[in-house]
Chain length 197, copies 4
DNA sequence: CATGAATGAGAGTTCATTCAT
DNA sequence: GATGAATGAACTCTCATTCAT
């Protein structure tokens, strides 16, 4: 009936995911032992393997969870407009907001979304899902002549690179997150790069 | 007494570095055992530790070697001009050339220059050395009013992000390395982003 | 309240025994986890331990059940005669029949009746019970001069060895089970070995 | 130069094999941990895996070693004669001698030559090698009319069964190993079974 | 009776590093 | 300089068993 002090349902699985996030980010995947994750989660070693078939599955699950959280966050309350610059800015600012509010999850992305610890399949799917809005937006912008007519693959890679840089910057300097000079400058750089001229 | 067919002095040390480069890039640092490096180098396990006090020292040494090679490559035959755009483009293209010619060394940079396996000290020093030209160039450009008056730290991070993206793109698509459309577009994106307007 | 489609009382206990039989034979005792037995029996892990105090008890119980089944099978409809050869042949053929009809139970015997997984006590008792008829028969045959006057312990071990060989042969070649040439030859070999000459 | 008190070359590998033999026989394969083998061999855990890639490889190697030893032992000083009975008896007695002199190796055979811990390939090859003499002998005997005209597969299985029984008997009762009554009776049982009548 | 999350000791195996030769 | 057998701590993962529901 009542809920004990130190056990709510699904608590342990979530605790493992939470602790794994912090340890993986702080120490790296290989340098983090399953034993240390279990210990920090106040759980037996076997419990970790009861919920996740392997360390690999654990990090993949973590990746998918965070991806979904992020996708949900930036897709909420989207600005509805035909002005592509405004639309892109809206997404950009939402992504920065999320990164500032969830620094560990953001660092996790930065560290692992390009690394080999995550299944290539999972990784690419995540990229596609997350960049989906952006890809659509850029394509549409090119068709309408608002965005520079550069080969799309190069353009996307460039955009992605600028995105990672911005995120890294604000994650490393969270105190600048509310500084509208920096926030605006951040988007302006990208927009200058890709807008038609 | 005599020197065998496949062993001249310093040969073994270099063989170890070469094999380590490939294995670290293909499998990651932790997933590559010193035994496998020794085996691929056709050398005894003890020999590796004869030349490098530890696995950590080995990867740091590798990092420094590659850094110097790269720095040397892009500093050769610098274009002498007061036109900042031309000067920046010269560096940019030289960096892309090097990346295309040395894909494994480039991938090594991409993987490890942000990761924790390399001493932070070594890492930052390398960054500074390599970006040194660029930092100077950008500062100078801002002073002269050719480059946008955005906070320098944000600007550098952005520039770095675009650089990594370009390198990644051409390393992944080496066949486009000689395509001048892509080469020019690559630099144009950065320049549009950062030039004064 | 009501009884579900696939669960009548004692069903689950029997399902566990059945599945354990197959898994133990196919994979061995240690290589079969209680979890896998439970899963194959469509039962929770706890349920297994509700019916059997431990894995050891489970295999012992299985052993005893099969032993009783076998003993019952060969003791039914015994041929009543004073001719020892006929009497022995009757038992021999009944044992082969049972083995052919119950290959997994037979293989279980072959694998575990000499192995250390079963309590020595349980094992020996089973041996005695099963060979009981035979021991009596052979003793009686020796007294009456129909069976060779070889030390009894050696004779029994030899008889047992031939029995195991026959069973193994017909379990491995069930299609020869109805071949009377093989069936007769099988008994003839033993009888030639042990009859007085 | 000199040989230290507790280390002669190849010592450790052999020590591991010797200790593994005893532990596997006494406790079974799965119940024997690699740690316990290493400890009994006075060797570090890693040393075991330096010499044998896995526990499985270790037991297979052990099996092959013992097989060769046995094959060598019974093939030495074979009795040269055309009398099949004498020839078979010679082999039979040599096998019993070896079993008595090497009880642990013999028990290892008894326990593992039919079990699943050894690769099926290794197992069958061993059977063929060891029974090779016997198979040839029995075939030849059948052709010459000295051995009963029973299907060969059944005959061999029966012979094998009697062989295992004899070995088991003398391994369990080594004090009867020099008793010529038992020794002769042992062979007589087989011969009676299989000779032409 | 039945469940299945939780346990933690212990398994097999890996690997950076040492050192006698 | 070069070798590779030896080391043992640390790793990931398994599993028989328990117990609150």
């Amino acid at each position: 009936m009542k809920q004990g002090v130190n056990s709510t349902p699904k608590d342990k699985k979530q605790a493992i995911l939470d602790c794994a996030l912090h340890l993986f980010v702080d120490q790296g995947f290989h340098a983090t032992s399953t034993a240390s994750i279990a210990k920090k989660s106040a759980v037996a070693t076997g419990t970790l393997f009861h919920h996740f078939p392997s360390k690999q599955h654990l990090i993949n699950q973590l990746f998918l969870n965070i991806k979904q959280e992020f996708a949900y966050a930036i897709s909420q309350n989207r600005l509805m407009t035909n002005n592509i610059e405004h639309s892109a800015n809206d997404l950009w600012q939402k992504a920065i907001d999320w990164a500032i509010e969830n620094p560990y999850k953001q660092k996790f992305f930065l560290q692992f979304s390009l690394s080999a610890e995550i299944d290539q399949h999972t990784r690419q799917q995540a990229m596609n899902d997350i960049l989906h809005f952006v890809v659509d937006l850029i394509k549409q912008g090119q068709q309408q002549g608002f965005i520079v007519d550069t080969p799309l693959d190069l353009l996307l890679e460039n955009f992605h690179g600028q995105y990672l840089a911005a995120i890294r910057f604000f994650t490393d300097n969270p105190e600048l997150g509310q500084n509208s000079l920096y926030r605006q400058a951040s988007f302006k750089l990208v927009w200058q790069a890709i807008r038609a001229n």
